[in-house]
Amino acid sequence: MKLTLPWLREHLAGDDVAVAEIVERLTMLGLEVEGVVARGADLSTFKIAEVVGLRQHPAAERLRLCEVSTGSGTLEVVCGAPNVHLGMKAVFAPVGTVIPESGQVLQPATIRGIVSQGMLCSARELGLGEDHAGIIELPADAPVGRPASEVLRSEGPVIEVNVTPNRGDCLGVNGIARELAAGGIGQLKSRNLAPLPAQFDSPLRVTLDFPEAEAGACPIFVARHFRGLLNGPSPAWLQERLTAIGLRPISALVDITNLITYDLCRPLHVFDAAKLQGDLVLRFAEDGERMAALDGKTYELTAAMTVIADGSGPVSLGGIMGGSSTGCTPETTEMVLEIALFDPARTAATGRQLGIDSDARHRFERGLDPKMVVPGAEYATRLILELCGGEASQLIVAGRLPAPPSRFRFRIGELERLVGIGLDLATVQAKLRSLGFETEVDGEDAIQVTPPSWRHDVTMEADIVEELARLHGYDRIPPMPVRRITAVGQPSLSPDQRLRMIARRAAAAVGLAEAVTWSFTEAELASQFGQGELRLRNPISAELAVLRPSILPNLLEAAARNHNHGQREIGLFELGPRFHGLQPGEQEVAIGGLRLGPVHERSWAAPPRLADVYDARGDAQAILTACRVNAEGLRVVTEGPAHYHPGRRGRLMLGPHTVLAEFGELHPELARRFDLDGRPVGFEVFLDRLPKPKAKGQRVRTAFKTSPFPAVERDFAFLVDEEVQAETLLNAIRATEKGLIREVQLFDIYRGKGLAERQKSLAVAVRLQAQDHTLSEAEIDAVVKRIVAAANKATGAVLRT
């Protein structure tokens, strides 16, 4: 909502208050000022002066010497304007004034040997227009010595107020003035809203044609017929005022409706009466009915929309926009003024459905003051007759005003309870009355409150609390500390939340950088990750059309972007939701990671190595370990989702069914899709599936025991077929003698010379130790034999000799 300072002052009596104070007060009343834009400059330092003497400059043919009366004396000024004449009232800039056009401070100047003690100004110099042919001529009755701003018509400065959706009443300058008056700045002044008599009797009839249950669609409709109008351009002041707030002047009649929309928050509409066919009917549109609107577009209507129709069909969309067939033009001489109430919800729905955002809709959908319908019509009549001449008919009224807001009880203790400030009954009543509320004492500590007709947002005690608190000042509410109440701090995080933070920092600790990417992705890409149909109805673009079924597609895209930036060692992770359905809760938290290219920067000290599937598994395991999952308790299975390389993927299982993590090399098709000349590897750890920690106080660890007896280590080289999985061999060894085998480590793999085709040698170190005695050679030999036998049984392994 934009307004200008002079406009605001037309609604406020009292001392001129500086813009800065108005801005501050409005903001602290809840009408946040988004900006103040100077329009024209501050002309208060320029004076109204009279040219009382005039003679030719002795040394310059085109210059004249003016004797200028400024009210406090007479000065000599050199002037080159051709229109300067004796007795002229002009705008005088004394020495020291800042000239708006140049921004320079005016200095005393010697022009061809004569000292000029100031300047007479043109419109351009004052920032009031482009006219520089001559100086401004003020009206003959302009008071000499007064600031020129008193007679120069300039609408600046322009104040832009952010009106919250609950305060439709402040979408008019009168509403904003009312707030300021209640806030202690000036007294509210009313426009002349007195009724005007009919000058002729119009035959026009208006009918409200709604089913009884839907009468709220348009409870009241007022029309007035005008004839003998002269609808030319509106006067300069009106054009300047509308231009200042960003509206385009069109014609006097249209400009008047726009002015009143902003002045009294009262949208209205004018029909060219000559173009109307017969009487007006207010009704719902018929499905499929069409109307060409003033914005040049034709809209298809539905039966939920309120229209004003004549014999030809709809001529206006109630509360939204008029039709083009009956619009006023400069040639209009006979006109019908329309001012009505339309249902806010229906107006909002219609506007949204048709995509029309007009000043009228903006106001109607927030709710107008019903009691302004008839006065608004009278004020409009006054302006129309003043600016366009002609004569006005009687008011043609259909329907009636809706019931006024009902009163309710307010316990003044609510203010102290909810806000922490206490005000007495008298203060409470005075504050509310200043905003137009009616109040009546109801017992010792309560009042009956009736909100004013324009305040649809106030319906309950809490609303009154806010009115009182903001008038009193939020800054005067004493702040109170909030301290924790539990003696021993309860944790802020649930066990799940804590694990997520640990997982995140574990991923960073293994060298991955945390990305935050969209929760959505592209449908076709998503389908590569198992689920491409979790669609948004209104995606922002095709690339962001579905909810992501996995963390990886977005990381893959991010890796590709980094790749294109020339990044070599790419390691990214993200912790966030992955979705498996569109119902609330059909999502889980996962941490996904992706590596591409060398695992570390090029270094003299470490041979270069490309990330491979074992890095992905290692990352996943590091995160699981950090989340207190015993990695040795996990089973690896060689299967996984299709977005991984079918021969290079795996799952980490807890028990027979729970997949804690998946890892693998991304499918080469995906790498090709993103034009990656490398092999991206990735993982996802499903954090919601981690085993739940035990309840607090039970988390006791087993006792720490070491054996005092020596450990022995035996190395084996097992020859196995290429197809044999290491895990099978290692599990077989581990299971051999659980009481004695402390550690089993696979420390080398050999293929090639000395071995058969498709054969590999797995070197395994086994550490043996007893808890209660030193192992004898015989015992050790027996265990070794059993290990070899078990390995052979499980995998066909034989010792390499």
């Binding site: 609950n166 109170m480 944790p491 802020s492």
Partner: protein, 369 residues
């Protein structure tokens, strides 16, 4: 029995000469091997000093005693000299070895993993740390929400003009005949919290939020943190105190000016927006000083209609709620100019603005330093 004066004198002279000769040899031994041979020659079983001591048996007791002492001193002196020389030689050898082992320590270190934590995560943890100290716990809700939790229960019935301020994403699914949405704010977590159990409540809910908007200053996904405190006596003064303490803690300046302005949210009454003092100069924004204001969050007393919608009696229970943008706090606090860069996963950006894996913010240790 008289000593054999002559024998004694001659032997004394021999010992003196031998000692001088041996000590000279020890001193001139140039390496450990030579020194060891010398030790054998002098002190070994067949060594020269050992040979001397073997002659003692033939002498009379007085002479034997006298010479025995002389020979012992000789043996000790030479042994000591050898030990000392050995230490010297070892030390020299170590010096040589150390010289030879010199390395260029100006070579860069071996590469170590250096992951980063995203500023949004870091700031979220900072926020949790601060509110945690005030007794708030962290609550959560899903990204896909139903109409009731995201709008209706928050006093935004269909056609409510405030719904237009939310450019809502809808998903292709419905619940109870109304389209499901991607939550437009974290406020539905308030509703979920209050539906899940009776008051009192003290929660914050950080998380992803979505609006259908993408330009210089808006991204279709962003992060908010919601706060809710409900009990029998929390009023707007507590709201002011809590949030004033919060902004001063998060920006780590205890003199930041704050201002609460009346505002409007459908789910609070009275409602407020909070501004913090700042200075704007030459495109630079400085928090905590100057004569300008910067909007930082929205808040208010929970609307009675919201409490009723979740079955809480507004005449008994009361409290406040607030919501703020986490990304925005991160931008302000760490001087990150462009919101869109948060979501680009640019490694150069993450290395620059990110945080170390072990840089866990705490209120005890300081949030950011």
């Amino acid at each position: 029995m008289a000593q054999d004066e002559g024998t004694v004198q001659a032997a004394d002279a021999d010992v003196g000469g031998l000692q001088r000769a041996l000590l000279a040899e020890v001193a001139s031994a140039g390496d450990l091997d030579t020194l060891d041979q010398l030790r054998v020659t002098a002190l070994g079983k067949k060594g020269r000093i050992t040979a001397l001591t073997k002659t003692l048996g033939q002498l009379d007791p007085d002479t034997r005693k006298h010479l025995g002492q002389r020979y012992n001193r000789l043996k000790e002196t030479v042994a000591a000299a050898i030990t000392a020389r050995k230490a010297e030689l070892e030390s020299e050898a170590l010096d040589v070895q150390l010289q030879a082992e010199r390395q260029d320590v100006t070579l860069p270190a071996r590469p170590l993993p250096a992951g980063r934590i995203h500023p949004v995560s870091q700031v979220t943890e900072e926020i949790i740390a601060i509110f945690g100290d005030m007794g708030f716990t962290v609550a959560e809700g899903p990204d896909v929400e139903n109409d009731f939790n995201n709008f209706s229960a928050l006093n935004m019935p269909p056609e409510h003009p405030a719904r237009q301020m939310h450019d809502t994403f809808y998903v292709e699914a419905e619940q109870d005949g109304r389209p499901l949405v991607l939550r437009t704010h974290t406020s539905p977590v308030q509703i979920r919290t209050m539906l899940a159990g009776p008051p009192p409540h003290r929660i914050i809910a950080p998380g992803r939020t979505y609006r259908c908007d993408y330009d210089m200053t808006h991204t279709p996904m962003f992060h908010q943190v919601e706060g809710l405190m409900i009990d029998r006596r929390t009023h707007m003064g507590h709201l002011k105190g809590c949030l004033t303490d919060f902004v001063r803690a998060i920006f780590e300046r205890d003199d930041i000016p704050v201002r609460f302005r009346p505002s409007f949210f459908p789910f609070t009454e009275p409602s407020a927006e909070m501004d913090i003092g700042c200075k704007r100069q030459g495109g630079e924004l400085t928090i905590g000083a100057g004569d300008d204001w910067l909007e930082i969050l929205g808040c208010g007393m929970v609307h009675p209609k919201v409490l009723r919608a979740v079955g809480v009696d507004p005449d008994v229970w009361q409290g406040f709620a607030f919501g703020m943008g986490i990304d925005r706090i991160a931008m302000l606090k760490y001087g990150i100019p462009d919101l869109r860069t948060f979501f680009e996963a640019d490694l150069r950006w993450l290395r620059h603005y990110g945080f170390g894996a072990l840089d866990v913010p705490t209120t005890r240790g300081g949030l950011s330093r």
